[in-house]
């Protein structure tokens, strides 16, 4: 199992993701420079958090033109696993690989805090190590993480079961008070219809060892590592 971690100018979670892949999960790690279109045989490509290209114009707006993004689009079309975390989620939306957009938090504040997430899908390569409707604890760290999509898109997401993570309270209740950024329907993460492109605002790489105050994040990395053999890349 080989994970690729994309590095744009301004990416800052690449080493954290790399550490979890390499040191915690023990999978193969390959950093992918944004100017290099070669995905180097990776089975799962991670777009990590940060401020790619300074988030100029809009978050993710410029990053989507990087040479690596064209390859990632083709890779996703072939069924390859693509995982956008925080800024990576914003980039996937700008690139049209996921529907909707991430806008300014309703509080107008940059929020860096722990949240609870309801795992609504455990039949995905990214979540198979979670239990049914498990509540996991994960930090967020963003100023623009408020998920928006027009009503028709939103209801299609719900009907197709494409909402993977929803902000909830510790007891698993999806309440407005558990929503840290004003995301519609408390959405914290969505998957494309085919089930191979995941975008999420919370940071699993920042909670993958007990020393960091929680280790729920490693479940997602272990899910991907464990499922690699089952994923068919044509």
């Amino acid at each position: 199992m080989k994970f690729g971690v994309v590095v744009f100018p301004g990416t800052w979670s690449d080493r954290d993701c790399g550490w979890v892949v390499d040191q915690v999960v023990g999978a193969q790690l390959q950093y992918l420079w944004h100017k290099d279109a070669d995905l180097k045989g990776c089975d799962c490509v991670i777009l990590p958090g940060g401020f790619a290209y300074g988030d100029y114009l809009r978050t993710g707006a410029i990053a989507r033109f990087a040479p690596v993004m064209e390859s990632i689009g083709e890779f996703a079309d072939r069924g390859g696993l693509v995982w956008g975390i925080c800024n990576g989620f914003q980039i996937l939306c700008e690139a049209g690989l996921l529907p909707g957009a991430l806008i300014r938090n309703s509080s107008l504040e940059f929020r860096c805090e722990w949240t609870h997430l309801m795992v609504e899908r455990k039949d995905l390569p990214f979540t198979s190590a979670c239990s049914e409707r498990e509540v996991i604890r994960m930090p967020i760290s963003h100023g623009e993480g408020s998920y928006f999509a027009e009503p028709a898109v939103l209801s299609r997401l719900e009907q197709n079961g494409q909402v993977v993570f929803r902000y909830c309270d510790p007891g698993g209740r999806v309440l407005p008070s558990a929503n840290p950024n004003g995301s519609l329907h408390n959405i914290a993460g969505i998957i494309n219809k085919r089930g191979n492109v995941l975008g999420m605002m919370p940071h699993p790489e920042r909670c993958s060892e007990p020393e960091l105050g929680g280790a729920d994040g490693v479940k997602l990395f272990r899910s991907v590592a464990g499922n690699a053999m089952k994923v068919l890349v044509s």
Binding site: A61, P99, G100, A101, R104
Partner: protein
């Protein structure tokens, strides 16, 4: 010919605009009670070469669609200037 496009990008009416709401609150606090709504957007100036104004308009329109505005959350409009002339 040289043309200048003045592009205005605004959040769509259906998109929550917390910046606009906060600015509105500020104006109300200052006593501007007539304020009904505030939306905060972006202003982008693009200088370009084009054969005709028609061509310039088409090119700027394409720039807006492909990059300057995100159609999911934003609307845009622009004015084009050319040698003192103004075209909307």
């Amino acid at each position: 010919m040289k043309a200048t496009a003045r592009v205005i990008v605004t959040p769509k009416p259906v998109v929550n605009d917390p910046q606009g709401l906060t600015v509105k609150q500020g104006l109300m606090t200052l006593g501007f009670r007539e304020v009904e709504d505030v939306r905060v957007g972006k202003y982008i100036e693009v200088s370009l070469e084009a054969e005709t104004m028609h061509e310039a308009r088409e090119r700027v329109e394409a720039m807006c669609r492909q990059l300057l505005a995100n159609h999911v959350i934003e609307d845009f409009h622009f004015e084009l200037d050319h040698e003192g002339g103004k075209h909307r």
